[in-house]
């Protein structure tokens, strides 16, 4: 059976056309990324004066927001890393039965809960405690409230990444140590955890990358502050909420400040993303 040549030509052109279309799709995705980075540099860089970087927003800077973000990341990591990793250990080492399945399901549900809902929760939680007189009313908008929100977001992420990391450690490594008569808990702490350390670091970085840019839950819980950190039960500023407030402010100077703060925030987040990649790459090279 012979097919007319023009059919084949048409098919070949269509092939080229569709390949081109796929390439255009990649371009369509890179366009916003490029535009965001470029605009952040062009509009944000002029805002980055020494004053901007060292003064609190009361005096026209964002130093207090930078400080706030680092405090929040630090406190949240302090809560979420141990809790998350222990949960991961439970899921991979002990949770074999039905309870393990249930825990894993709940953890998955938590990773998928919209962050704004988590913000509502943290606020409502502290509010409920305050209304029943257990904590002072001021705690509702505070560093602690924000940390509760961010921890609720970060714990399940760390739990699942550490579970995956621990599962990658071959059973033979565990059995070799157990066979030497080393108790199980020491085996896990001394053999299993160290051999997947870099994967745990990646998980931690992933978690930090997620919470570092979170805005909605902080908007609902941090309150507003134009000064440096003044106590765990006080409101505090953070980079993402600061960007939001600058962005919706009706003054050009503040809009430019929004771009400046964005530039720092974006670079920070991309840096963490790339770092977590680098850790993965490093591990791959080692093997």
């Amino acid at each position: 059976m012979k097919f007319p040549v023009d059919r084949d030509t048409r098919r070949r052109w269509f092939d080229v056309f569709m390949s081109g279309a796929a390439l255009v799709c990649v371009g369509l995705a890179l366009l916003p990324l490029g535009s965001i980075l470029m605009e952040a540099f062009v509009r944000g860089a002029p805002a980055l004066t020494p004053n901007f970087l060292t003064q609190p927003s009361l005096l026209g800077g964002i130093a207090n927001a930078i400080q706030g973000t680092f405090i929040l990341i630090g406190l949240t990591s302090l809560v979420a890393l141990p809790v998350g990793i222990l949960t991961g250990i439970y899921l991979s080492e002990f949770g074999k039965g039905r309870i393990g399945v249930v825990v894993r399901f709940f953890v998955d549900v938590m990773t998928q809960t919209p962050s704004v809902v988590v913000g509502i929760f943290a606020y409502s939680f502290v509010l409920t405690l305050a209304l029943s007189g257990l904590v002072p009313r001021t705690l509702v908008f505070s560093v602690i409230s924000g940390t509760i929100a961010l921890s609720t977001i970060m714990i399940p992420i760390v739990a699942r990444t550490s579970e995956d990391a621990l599962r990658l450690v071959p059973t033979s490594a565990r059995e070799a140590a157990l066979a030497l008569g080393i108790p199980r808990y020491r085996t896990i702490l001394r053999v299993v955890l160290p051999s997947c350390a870099s994967a745990l670091v990646t998980g931690g970085l992933l978690g930090i990358a997620r919470i570092g840019g979170e805005t909605a839950p902080l908007l609902l819980t941090l309150g507003s502050s134009r000064e440096f950190f003044s106590g765990l039960d006080q409101p505090i500023a953070a980079m993402p909420t600061q960007v939001y407030q600058f962005a919706i402010a009706p003054s050009l100077a503040e809009n430019q400040a929004a771009w400046g703060a964005s530039l720092i925030l974006v670079l920070l987040m991309l840096g963490i993303s790339i770092a977590s990649r680098a850790v993965i790459r490093l591990r791959a090279v080692k093997r």
Partner: protein
Amino acid sequence: MDKVSAWYGEKLAIQEIVLDFEEHAVTGIIGPSGCGKSTLIRCLNRMHETIPKARVEGQVLLDGQDIYGLPAVSVRRRIGMVFQKPNPFPTMSIYENVAAGLRLNGERDRKKLDQAVLDSLKQAALWEEVKDSLDKSGASLSGGQQQRLCIARALAVRPEVLLMDEPCSALDPIATAKIEDLIFDLKKDYTLVIVTHNMQQAARVAETTAFMYLGKVVEVNNTRELFERPRESLTESYITGRFG
């Protein structure tokens, strides 16, 4: 084919192979695993080059034309292929599987499609078994039936040559016997090249057999001659089972 060499990256898989394939006959290619049989057959319809970093040199002539000078797409339509493991499209029905090649070529006429599907399934000796379940998934068939479905799918586009890369290696003896019968029938209409690691199979179905070792053709001859009076000692030790 003339002086065909093929590489995977830097690794030379087959080296300056020269082979003729007789029309309307079955050529068998045997040899120990890793000797380049599959690579060789994949060079014949330009499937080798679909693997990243793989490359081919030399000429493969089909009716006097070098297939490496023609569009790969039309080459593959004229030279069909059946693979080691049955690979029907699982999301398509049996009918659609067979019709897939024709649809690619723009055949929309329902009657022609029906006829082609009927013919191909009959040729592949599958018609009787599936005629009542043409709209069932291709993956619902047994292994041997799946392989015959793949053969029907390859036949539906009316190729001139049919390449078979160890078509029976994933099948049980009964299914294998059916495919071998089928090969016997098919050579009336097609030129067949079959790669097999099973010497008895080559002896049963092929007129001509080539023995390959370490990327080279050691010996080509009439099948009976090759098995009864091998000229090369390497061939002899292989067919008598001293290695391989």
